[in-house]
């Protein structure tokens, strides 16, 4: 296993990403989108494609930059720091990883479209209020040479803006993953207004027709394709949450140094110093888990479940602590909409639920460790 330090290439990528995002997508950019009721910035997405970000997991022969999962985590982490909003994780990480598991011309073309920034994917997996792919009820029953899909998916992240949907459905003897255009007959999308002001939709399938060509991977065997994709997404999301924690933490420490009460900077109070030091410790420890997950996905993807779930579990706890402390240490101003901390708190909550919460991933860690 490579070291848990960033490589030179990754450090350059991180610096470049930070420089770009500070100019193109600071938190104030997210605020403008939110105030305008928009959940997507086509120009920002096109620029990400131009820099090779959307192709970070796309093979070079399909037009990608193929930098790997650790690099994808670097990008997601930098986006997290300033809450840059884009369909990066659902499209460039999850869909790209799923499509890479499949050696068809169609998958290759789709990967090319992702690298070019020409397509947005949404992941239609969840149905209940908790992430539980194995519990999928949406049914795809055999119909001639194809299928008919009926049911409802919720919390489809980036589902409102998506051109295509990865849909998990129950088939005869298992689960099957479909790759469908979002405007196919019988698909209805209803935008969900979530606390984080990002794109999510409820998607209903009313007797939607699908052919064998729409199946990604093998019928009744969704997980061969979906499991690596989910794990890639979980790792990148962990990185985003750690970035978010770092962003919130930087604001908080900055405030401790400048805000005066009782005639002194509040950062002189040991009660706050120790809580800040504890929070920093938690982010340092979570950073190791996130780095490890990226490395593991690059070097030993078949055995990455423990590493990925460890990262997502830690990231959930750390992000929660970072935003709770962030609001508390800012005092009253932390509660106002004019101040950015609330954005971090809302995003942390949504990101925690997406692709499995703390309990979901802690249970996977325990299972992998033989509990």
């Amino acid at each position: 296993m490579s070291t848990l330090l960033l490589t030179e290439d990754e450090t350059m990528l991180q610096d470049a990403a930070r420089g770009f995002l500070d100019g193109a997508a600071p938190v104030s950019h997210f605020r403008k989108l939110r105030d305008a009721g928009q959940t997507h910035d086509a120009k920002l997405w096109a620029e990400m494609a131009q820099m090779g970000w959307t192709g970070v997991l796309v093979p070079e022969e399909a037009g990608g930059s193929d930098m790997g999962h650790a690099a994808a985590c670097v990008l997601a982490g930098e986006m997290g720091k300033t809450l840059a909003t884009s369909p990066f994780i659902s499209t460039a990480v999850i869909a790209a990883t799923a499509l890479r598991q499949v050696a068809t011309d169609r998958a290759r073309d789709a990967l090319g479209a992702i690298a070019a920034g020409d397509v947005i994917y949404g992941l239609a997996v969840d149905e209940g209020h908790k992430h539980n792919p194995e519990g999928t009820q949406l049914e795809a029953h055999a119909d001639g040479n194809g299928f008919r899909l009926s049911g409802t998916k919720g919390f489809v992240v980036d589902g409102g803006n998506a051109d295509r949907l990865l849909v998990l459905a129950r088939t005869g003897a298992g689960l099957t993953l479909f790759d469908l255009p979002a405007d196919r007959n019988g698909i209805t999308r209803t935008v969900q207004s979530l606390v984080d002001a990002r794109d999510a939709a409820t998607v209903t399938f009313d007797n939607v027709q699908a052919t064998g060509d729409d199946v990604l991977g093998a019928v009744d065997d969704a997980m061969t394709v979906l499991k690596p994709a989910l794990e890639a997404g979980q790792a990148a999301l962990s990185a985003e949450m750690l970035g978010l924690s770092a962003g919130a933490f930087a604001m908080t420490v900055g405030y401790l140094k400048e805000r005066k009460q009782f005639g002194v900077e509040i950062g002189r109070f040991q009660a706050l110093q120790h809580r800040a030091a504890h929070l920093w410790s938690e982010t340092e420890i979570t950073l190791s888990a996130v780095r490890h997950a990226g490395r593991k996905l690059d070097e030993d993807p078949a055995n990455a479940t423990l590493a990925v779930s460890l990262a997502k579990a830690r990231a959930a706890q750390t992000a929660k602590l970072a935003v709770i402390e962030g609001v508390q240490m800012h005092g009253g101003i932390g509660m106002t909409d004019d101040f950015d901390m609330g954005f971090f708190m809302k995003r942390a909550r949504v990101a925690t639920e997406w692709l499995g919460d703390y309990g979901y991933h802690a249970a996977k860690v325990a299972a992998a460790r033989g509990f």
């Binding site: 070291t3 848990l4 330090l5 420490v253 401790l256 140094k257 002194v264 900077e265 950062g267 002189r268 040991q270 110093q273 120790h274 800040a276 030091a277 504890h278 920093w280 410790s281 340092e284 420890i285 979570t286 950073l287 190791s288 888990a289 780095r291 490890h292 423990l306 460890l310 579990a313 830690r314 802690a362 249970a363 860690v365 325990a366 460790r369 033989g370 509990f371």
Partner: protein, 390 residues
Amino acid sequence: MSMSDDALETFRTEVRTWLEENCPPEMRDGASGEDAIVWGGRNWKFTSDAQKLWLDRMAAKGWTVPTWPVEYGGGGLDRAHHKILFEEMRAIGARVPLQSFGIWMLGPALLAFGSHEQKLQYLPPIARGEVRWCQGYSEPGAGSDLASVQTKADSDGDHYIVNGQKIWTSYADKADCIFALVRTDRDAPKHLGITFLLIDMETPGVTTKPIRLISGKSPFCETFFDDVHVPKANVVGTENRGWDVAKHLLTHEREMISGGGQGLLGGRPLGVVLNEQEGGLTDPVLRAEAMGCEVDALAVALTLERYKDQAESGGGVGDASAMLKYAGTELNKRRHELMMSAGGSDALEWDGKYGGLASDWLRTKANSIEGGTSEVMLSIISRRVLGLPT
């Protein structure tokens, strides 16, 4: 496979063969409990011939201190080679042949601050397990405020005359020598009048007295110095600049006490250990706590790995070692609370079915005090890492 990978694999094969031929069967039980530890020293009693043979053979290879330079009794291994040695030893359950404060604490300090002569004089005997060291830092009035040490060393020609008292000196009653912080300038600011001094425990005027702890054991002592004559050649570094040496050594001590999270149960998953206890993990609250603890333990262990990577690459870890000490010791306390809880009333006996678990549990309470309290660690982080005002 690159050239260096080839070389590493060759080394792995050599290590495996050597261990197979040289590690006595009795030393392959993976034991790491108190009875299995060899501390060494002039008065050390080996519990078996195999134990002595294993130490001698490993010392001859320099593998009791694998990363120290060969000329000082070490193995001269870099981290990649050291890791292979560690992995191959673990693969056959080989015991660690020697542990000591000389290896963990004094050795690294001497390597950084000692003269060539001092290194040649003191390091090889540590590597061979011939001299056992203890640490004389804390005093009754200088605990968390360590720089307030009052034990004085007054100049007398080419000697000092040392007077004062140390406390919490681990195993001072069994050690041959002590490395101590003494005050050589009482007028200087408190950090600038301290000297790092090596003292033989057999020097007239040195006495020790064990302190009985809540665990029923006495790993710590009080140590008294009454007109003790110590050669000035025994100063490590510069007179009055002992605080620099002390700080360097403390970072190693913190890493040692932090235990790296995963190493706490010999690398075994907490849940499996708890399952083996009667009643195991059927209680949902206990199970949830154990899962959380395991998540944190794995992440702390990875952090130790990451910091080692950083140190290896020349980046240095610096004050972040305070974080490892804080996180590792608090985690260790959590784990032992969980083990006691899983064991229920069976775990309450001093020598019941879980052996010394109760005693170990009580001992862990010192982890977040010794080597700097958790609160001191948090203050170090807040000042030196976060740059918060004081």
